[in-house]
């Protein structure tokens, strides 16, 4: 039976043959539980038919509805990269047909540098990027007033220290070999920016993404009440990739807070990182997905906090 879930649509035929070995089909009867909040999470569920009800526990007992996941959507994808616990309880609202993918199976595919795993990581990155975009819209709803566009983007080539020697200390490169880091640096460009410089600006076309090697930036969304800070980016942070993945203009303005040294990866470099014949493509995409998932978690937490404080 072919995989008809949109996540797997249009993958090359040889990918499907591999994926059908690592994706399990599961049928669940209406009303049956899928998992409980707090359970260790080791798999993602792709809903092919039916719908899933998510609920969160209330501190005083009982639970509250959180969302309904419909056919075509994905549930629990954060579990595919790192250990997590389920943040809500899930129950089949109707009879369900699911595809279940386990973290260990995806890891095994990546460990063998199978091209299918690179395609899956890319699609995961796009999925999580869409979720981040949605959460950021929820955090700063309403009209946009992109006044920060007047701040010039002033990047200077190079840095005043040997950046390459310090990259292995950054969490983003935790699973990279020295050869992987060298390959990534060769694809990119080291740039520096001073406090107050805008590195990306709201509304502009996306030309590349950046990894912070040293220093810090702040991400702002221009709202009608002024710029609203939605994130702080320090060493090891990757930013600017969401608009590239979604092929849309910048959704935030990133301004340097502390003098920053960055590794810039152009859109063309990112295309080269889709080549499965080089190991760095796999390491980069794993790091990309992990970074996006971490950002989504932070943005969701921030949204919760902002709603709690009113």
């Amino acid at each position: 039976v072919p995989l008809v879930h949109p996540f797997f649509v249009d993958l090359p035929g040889d990918h499907h043959r591999v994926l059908e070995r690592v994706v399990r089909r599961q049928r669940v009867a209406a009303g049956d539980p899928l998992f409980e909040q707090g359970d260790p999470a080791d798999s993602a569920l792709f809903v092919e038919r039916g719908s899933v009800e998510l609920r969160v526990r209330l501190p005083g007992g009982g639970s509250s509805p959180l969302a309904v996941i419909e056919a075509g959507d994905v549930l629990g994808e954060l579990a595919l990269i790192d250990r997590h616990r389920r943040s809500a309880s899930a129950r089949a609202a109707t009879d369900l047909e699911l595809l279940v993918m386990h973290r260990d199976d995806l890891r095994a595919l990546c460990a063998h540098y199978h091209p299918a795993s690179l395609s899956l990581l890319r699609r995961l990155a796009e999925l999580v990027a869409r979720r981040i975009d949605q959460v950021n819209d929820d955090r700063a709803p309403g009209e946009r007033a992109p006044g920060a566009a007047s701040i010039p983007a002033t990047l200077r080539d190079g840095a005043d220290f040997d950046v390459r020697r310090f990259l292995p200390a950054l969490s983003l490169f935790r699973r990279f070999t020295a050869a992987d880091i060298d390959a990534l640096v060769a694809l990119g460009r080291i740039v520096s920016a001073s406090a107050g410089d805008a590195v990306v600006r709201y509304g502009e076309p996306a030309a590349g993404c950046f990894i912070v090697a040293r220093g810090a930036l702040q991400a702002f969304v221009p709202t009608s009440e002024g710029p609203r800070r939605v994130g702080v980016l320090g060493p090891g942070a990757l930013f600017g990739e969401v608009s590239l993945l979604l092929d849309r203009s910048r959704s935030a303005t990133c301004i340097v807070r502390e003098r920053a040294t960055l590794l810039e990866l152009s859109a063309a470099s990112l295309e080269q990182l889709r080549d499965p014949s080089q190991h760095v493509s796999f390491r980069f995409h794993e790091a990309l997905v992990r970074n996006l998932m971490s950002r989504l978690t932070l943005a969701t937490r921030a949204l919760t906090g902002e709603r709690r404080l009113g």
Partner: protein, 188 residues
């Protein structure tokens, strides 16, 4: 007061920091740690000890003084300044890193994890905190603010009830009324 972090170059600016502290307060400083200096600095700038917003203003002023003195002395190494103050009724807590992301570039082996991370600050709020179903958690009315717990990291396995305080932010739990009021203030 509690301080989570390490003020790089503290000894070089301690004397000038203490110049902002009234003599009567200075005389009460028994030790020479960065935390004691910061506490004395904030207390010295505090205009009304009964008013949490006055404490927020004192913290904001202390951050400005620290930034100016560090710039004057060429100290630009990432230094966490997470502070927690309480008078037994109210809580005012700061999440702030000076020169975030700036590490010494002379030797990669000297780069410490603390130079790369923003130390965190979390809180959870509810009607009461206790052991429920074998797990410590908030219970009772979820909208209540009778019990507030602040910590550098969530204290329970299930963190869904915990909220992260954003970077460069002061959290104020004003406990002067029957039900504490919580709000946050963004700092520059």
């Amino acid at each position: 007061m509690a301080h989570n972090g390490d003020l790089a170059g503290h000894r070089r600016i301690r004397h000038e920091l203490l110049a902002h502290v009234p003599a009567a307060l200075r005389e009460q400083i028994a030790g020479n740690t960065d935390s004691e200096t910061i506490y004395a600095l904030v207390m010295g700038l505090l205009e009304d000890p009964e008013e949490p917003t006055a404490l927020v203003a004192a913290i904001a002023r202390a951050v400005v003084i620290l930034r100016e003195l560090r710039a004057k002395h060429g100290i630009a190494e990432s230094s966490s300044l997470n502070l927690f103050f309480s008078d037994g009724r109210s809580i005012v807590a700061l999440r702030y890193t000076l020169d975030f992301g700036c590490y010494d570039t002379s030797n990669p082996a000297d780069v410490h994890e603390a130079n790369l991370r923003y130390l965190s600050l979390w809180y959870t709020v509810g009607e009461r905190y206790g052991l429920v179903d074998g797990e410590w958690q908030m219970s009772g009315d979820p909208a209540a603010t009778d019990a507030v717990l602040l910590a550098s990291e969530p204290l329970t396995r299930d963190i869904t009830g915990w909220i992260e305080v954003p970077e460069y932010t002061v959290l104020v739990v004003d406990g002067r009324s029957a039900s504490p009021r919580i709000h946050s203030v963004d700092l520059d």
